[in-house]
């Protein structure tokens, strides 16, 4: 029997893409992953695409808070709903595996140029999947307390605005501390230092009123 490496072994040896890819959308990155697997003679099934995407572009395809694990849901959602059903860049299904469509074969040339830096995109894409953490931090950034904080009107932030910002609209005695802890956890997970500073400021401003 010949000592031929299996597809899985080959994928295990994939290294992270050297150039910057964080600001490129996941639709394009996964198109590249499918092309890359095909170019290596590996059949692009969903499992292989998931692991290959994680190995090649770990910053884009790992779970928030668990960077050592691949985000299979995002890969499935993007490969199937975006690249296959909506954009027609891929053909196939979870059952049959995926391959580049005729349209995808033209688009991959552009993706390769984007990844090599030959083409730049006007739009910077969001790297983080819209998780609960991101949703809540985004909502926090839209509050009047945060707006006043950012526009140097810190003295004008009222207690009510602070409680409203943290969505503690009733029973602050019980809820304030817990809300602050939870938002801090979200900000750490998202590495949002600006929000961490803001939360520290809120804690100081309340001066231990609610524990």
């Amino acid at each position: 029997m010949h000592n031929i490496k299996s597809d899985e072994d080959l994928i295990r040896e994939f290294k992270e893409f050297e150039n910057s890819y964080e600001n490129i959308d996941k639709d394009r990155l996964l198109l590249y992953v499918v092309w890359y697997l095909e170019s290596k003679g590996i059949e692009p099934t969903l499992q292989k695409i998931t692991v290959a995407a994680f190995k090649l572009f770990p910053k884009s395809f790992s779970l928030l808070g668990f960077p050592e694990y691949p985000d299979g849901f995002t890969v499935y959602y993007t490969v199937w709903l975006h690249d296959t059903k909506t954009k027609g860049l891929l053909v196939g299904s979870v059952q049959s595996g995926f391959s580049l469509s005729n349209k995808g074969k033209y688009y991959i040339e552009e993706v390769k140029k984007i990844l090599s830096g030959e083409i730049k995109l006007n739009k910077v894409y969001r790297r983080i999947t819209k998780t609960k953490e991101l949703t809540f931090i985004e909502m926090l950034k839209k509050t009047t307390a945060y707006e006043k904080y950012k526009s140097n009107a810190k003295d004008e932030i009222s207690e009510w605005e602070i409680l409203k910002a943290l969505r503690v609209e009733t029973d602050p005695e019980h809820k304030f501390k817990e809300a602050l802890r939870r938002y801090t956890e979200y900000a750490i997970r998202l590495n949002d230092t600006d929000i961490l500073d803001f939360l520290k400021f809120l804690e100081q401003k309340m001066g231990g009123k609610y524990g």
């Binding site: 005729n102 349209k103 074969k105 033209y106 688009y107 040339e109 552009e110 140029k113 830096g117 030959e118 083409i119 730049k120 995109l121 006007n122 739009k123 609209e169 009733t170 029973d171 019980h174």
Partner: protein, 738 residues
Amino acid sequence: MDKDDLKEVDKEQGKVHPKFFEKTVQDNFGSDPYKLIIELIKNAADSYMRLGATISPPFEIFVEIDTRFKGFMPYIEVRDNAEGMSSDDLERALEYGAPPSAKTENANTSSEKGVGLKDVLMSLGDNRIITVKNNKVTIASKDKNFDTIFLGYKAGEREWIISKNEREKYKLKGNGTIVSGFLPKFFLDKKFETIKSKLEKHYLLRKLLQCEDFKIYIIDRKSNQSRPILLKYSEPKISKVLVDDSFEIEYEGKTYSAQIKINEAKESLGPLSKPFGSAGLLVYSGKYTVLDLILGNYKNDSRLYKIFGEVHLDLDGLEQKIRNGEEKPLVDTARHGLIPENMFNKNLFEAIDKYLKEILEINVEPEYGLDSVEEKEFVRKVNKIYGKDVSGNVGGGGTYIPIRPENFELYPQYVPLPESEDKVIYLVVNSKILSKLHSINILSKDPDLQLSTSKIDLEDEKSNTDGFIVKQIKIHSDKIGLETEIVANTTEINHESISGVIVVENPLYNPENGFSFVPNKTSIVKGGSKKVSLSLIKNLINSEINEIKLETEGPISCPGKIIIPTANLNKKLIKNVLIEEIDVKAEGEVGAEAYITATYGNKTSTIKIKIIEEPSIGGFMKHIELSPDERAKEIAHFDETGTLTVYYKHPLFKMYMANKNFKSRPDFITFFADTITREIIKAAIIRGMQNNSPSFPQTTPGYITFEDVDAYFTREYYEKGPELHELSKHLIKKLKFL
């Protein structure tokens, strides 16, 4: 809910038909289920009031909520330490059609007819009432048949001396009453916090919560601490007191006095909204009996969104008429509010309206707005001025091109091209390579795909040293199914770009059954018009039939017929198809659907047309609006959503607006127009820099600096300022009073 060994010891049969109860519950609690809890709290408060001087405040009422029963609604218990009831009192209280509690006549209570307690008990699942009076306890519940079931330990014994253990268990130190049970499903809210918050906002409870004699506590049994939390009503912050006065109401030859207090809140409270809104005047009598929350005849007037206050009525003997008048009662039996037909209320509303009218005339400043049509036109023109500069690369026709190549690239990479129709693709060239390039060749790999040009000459672009050059290339093919490529290359540098093309069937030249609208459904903006296409193949054209009949159904209009040209017909045919364009005008409201049926000989075709809202405006600017917010520090602000808000109550604006006929004064118009112009320019520069627009390159890539914005501002103010200024002046002249 505790398990105990109580059993049925006696029963009083119900005297009411279930249908009556259903109607009563629906009338009383259907639209506002919080009245269930409030009824119990007010019963407890009334009970304290009946004790008069025999006890002193604070009068405590406890509302305990238990949400731990999975699959059930929350369990509620309302407890007071007031007068309590004997078993005979309780029997009467739970009888339908019972008179009010014995001593209401002189007590300052909410004086209802005796319907509330029974209705609430019947609505509560697994209900129970425990009451202690003169050291004797009575326990009862209402069952589904409206029977009153007395519970106890010995048959026939409805009340007994309460033991120490029972006192501890029921938390009743002296006399008092507990009503408990599961809230009905129509209550909907299941969370403790929600129930607490809504009770604190409910208008019927507002005066009781403000009354210092009463302390109403709520307890979350689910919480480990289960400590009582005092219910509080937070009044809106007062900006100024507008009215603090008293007036009189004439009714049936007698004069009743009333005190009125009207405040202006610091912030808008929104429209009058019962039962949880803060806006409006709370009408009450006695210490805490709320009759209604009203704004007279001005309840929908947005100018009064900041108004709140109260009207206290000295009813002086009219209490009995609150819910039991000979003509129309003052308040309807379900406590939905004051009945306007009642003469007393009519006089009351009239008096209140006078105060509100005066407020509108004196205190409320006029609100301004912009004409929506003018606003849209203004925004559209601004976007036209700034479209290319703000969006980065924009090809002809406003197509946004999202790439910035190092060399040059065709865009898009793949084109589905309808047969026999022109389409445009783009060549984006980085101006940095112009020194090395004179031209770029554009080739079609198949002669059946025709291009408008085979070479893009770049000599004329040499002066363009920053940014990107976008060139259009028209493509055309008559061959369905053709799959080919367009290549852009040059011998001057080693680079090429390829776009794939597939030629797809064009339904205009292949109408269904030879005679058809293409497409067969479309939409038209409300009030707008559109051309729709009707295709007829040559083979079907009959020289004896020279017209196509058009019939409409629904709110659209179009010509009644199309005459088929007889002379030079062949010249009007494209690929042996006659394509007629029909003007259609939408005349209905958004959402309306309409049809046009075209008939030619025995062939018919129908197009479905839907009337739609005008699509959102494309471009960096979406809206411009005027705001009366006085707190704004800036005169105007352009936010991330593309809305430019102008704060017309800013002191600088007020200075101009204080003048008579300010709208036509040149100094005001110039000031307003300049404010708008400057904000738009600033926003366009920032948006352009964010989008890496070649018009606004960043000196430090990745950073938008004040210095950059300032430098571009001066340039833009001179270049685009005059045009924006003129547009703004036109818009301001359309300023209207709301």
